[in-house]
């Protein structure tokens, strides 16, 4: 990976801080990467506990395998990022931290819903979680980092809750809306955009 663009990305991050100050909490900016990793692991475990992607159907089993692989590989990469400690990486981790905190909370809200509502929202929650995960992995794996890439990633990570009041339905709708406008396929789990 090429991390020589931290200077190029600096103005973009500053702009992003202005737009979404809650995402760039100064206390978290110096933050504890171990906590972020823990959160990431907890999210992965929560998602797995929900059995969102489990199904008797063959395709759904494959999806389940994919999300487990994604979250595991993401945690490994976050550990690598901790070692490198670039400026923009810290900010990105903080954004990711906020993203995880938010969706962990939403998963709790989801669990408290009646069964009918849960069944109806299940697919949307899968999309919401896999959207951010896939994008972060893709960003980290990209050989060259550019400003638009970070911009797009921040947009994706913020899409679910930047305009919402923390309500689950609205957050899921905003994520679906983001996917609806930018992608040709819903199946993030199988990497078929």
């Amino acid at each position: 990976m090429t991390f020589s663009i931290s200077l190029i990305l600096a103005p973009q991050l500053a702009q992003a801080r202005g737009l979404c100050p809650s995402l760039f909490n100064p206390t978290a900016a110096n933050g504890d990467m171990d906590a972020t990793i823990d959160k990431s692991l907890r999210l992965a475990q929560s998602v797995l506990d929900l059995k969102l992607f489990k199904s008797t159907q063959r395709g759904r089993k494959r999806e389940h395998r994919h999300i487990v692989d994604d979250l595991t590989s993401l945690n490994a990469r976050i550990k690598t990022m901790k070692a490198e400690g670039q400026e923009y990486q810290k900010d990105l981790l903080n954004t990711w931290d906020q993203y995880l905190s938010y969706w962990l909370q939403q998963i709790q809200n989801y669990e408290s819903l009646p069964d009918t509502e849960r069944r109806r929202m299940k697919t949307s929650l899968e999309v919401a979680i896999s959207l951010g995960t896939k994008h972060l992995i893709s960003f980290l794996e990209a050989p060259h980092h550019r400003r638009w890439k970070l911009e797009r990633l921040l947009q994706v990570l913020n899409s679910g809750y930047a305009q919402s009041t923390g309500e689950l339905t609205l957050s899921l709708f905003l994520v679906e809306r983001e996917v609806q406008k930018y992608y040709s396929h819903w199946d993030f789990i199988n990497c078929r955009y």
Binding site: M121, T123, A142, S164, E167, L174, S184, H185, W186, Y193
Partner: protein, 609 residues
Amino acid sequence: MKFLFITFIIFIHGNLCLAHNSNEESETDIFDRIERYGLLLQRLSQLELKADNEKEPMPATPYVMIKGKRFYMNSGFYDLAEDVARLYHDEIKSVCAQCQLPSPVQVRAQAEALMAKGWLTDFAQRSGKTVFVRYGGEFVNLGSRYGTAAGLLKVAGELAEDALLVIFKMPGAHFLCEVITMGISYYSGGLLTLYRTWRNSHHLKQGSLKQFVRLTATSWLTRRALKRVYLDFGPISIDPDIFSDSHNNESVEWLAHEIDEEKKYRRFFEAVQLRLDKFDKEIAQLDAEILSTAPAQRERIERKRERLKHKMSRATSFKRKIFEARRLGLSLYLFKRNRALSLYSDEPEMNSYFKGSKLWLIPLTSTLTSPGFTFDPNKQSSFELYQRDVLRNYSDSFTTPVDQFLIELAGSRSIQPQSLSELFNDIDFIFSGQKLARARYARLTLMQGFLGEFLPKVVKSFVGDVREVISDQDNSLRSTKETTRLQWNAGQIAYYSGLYIDYLRSVAILSNPDSLNHFERYHAKEYLVDLLTTLEKLSHLKEIKNLNELVEINNQLSEQLKVLKSHRFWIEKKAGHSLIPIREVFFTSIGLGRYNFYRKKVKCEQLYY
């Protein structure tokens, strides 16, 4: 340039000499002729265009482009023309001294006069416009609204018609083609709906055949109900506060773009009131007459009084059939079935309010079923299925955060929340699994009347007005291009509205819409907001003053149409993956494919490459 010019002159020169003086030419020796041509070539080769590009020519100076270089038709060109004319003049004079020829100076003056008239540009413009109007107009009219394929078919039909008329000299071809066009137009609406239902069935995870059967049955039942059921709204009373609010809001104002329409609208109710006053007086007279008449002779007067009361009831009631007919633009079709159903037939001045421009009916139809009016509670049961819910406060009805988010989004785009809330209500009704399919389909007809029938007419009238304003100011090719572009954009709005309505139609006929994705209805609402945003951009046309403003509005409309195209949520989210995507691109370009140019189709791992 010079070489071409010389070749041209020699060719003309040779032909003219042969034509003018063939006897002398045949007698002259071949070597003499070669010598003269050689001399001519030598003299022409010494001619040089004067330095055309030394000074910047005026923008209006005509030029010809040869091998990427501009040759301006300025004084240098005319000097050369004069020199060539002189050569030609001398050449002819040498063999025919008696011939009367124009002097080279006269030839130059004539060349300058011809160029000043702009004969070339004028000819090209006239020819271009003729072809453009003949075929381009037909293509834009049909292609923008029903897809490029329909436009191309129309042009092919026009070409075939011209071929029959001109080449084969078939005098009845025009009439025959008109009949065929009428037939196609009559049946194409139903076919298009079926085709779109088939396309939407994939997205809704329904069987195509089942959807066809449902559509046919539901639409037939609903249409029959709308034709046969007599729904009397009963005496209407107007709530002045709400009525004036709803009537004065912007959304109504821009729809009724003619000022006189509002007056008509008010005069209509005044006329109803006058008529009621007249009946009241007559009834009061009859009451007094009854009191002064012996009981045995009262029967005739009482019957007359009853008749008057019945007339009063008719004067203040809107029959559902008429109401829907006006709304759906099916008046001719429905009235033909039953001529007796003529609203206020005994009052010709009232009928006039329904004639001509129907724009004023939009505020009427949009407010009839909303809070401005209250109806006779005893008669409400008859139209329970069709009447919109009365919303005193629109914000109370949409409590979900997504609805509120969408209403705020619409508010930020200058769309009136109250008018939007009524349409949101309709969408909720269509997506409601607790309602009958027939009722949902009937509710759909309200939206179809609004989005599918009236709005295209409003848009068309806007475009016609703008065309007049612009053509009065400027008759250039640029203005023609921009007005045609506007016409195309306006047609595209109707096209996307039609797609959207057909999607809602597919939802309305489902047995259980609750099985759909949880957010389907919210996507439908957002698309409606997008449609209304596009219309809001179009509404700026009423203030248009010059061509530059039209260009600006056209650009905005084009951007908004791209949004409408890319946000079609009912299209299956599947990119056309192919090693040779020619087929997809071709079919999409003629409006038949699913290839979506506005969506990224990258692989997961390549998102940020």
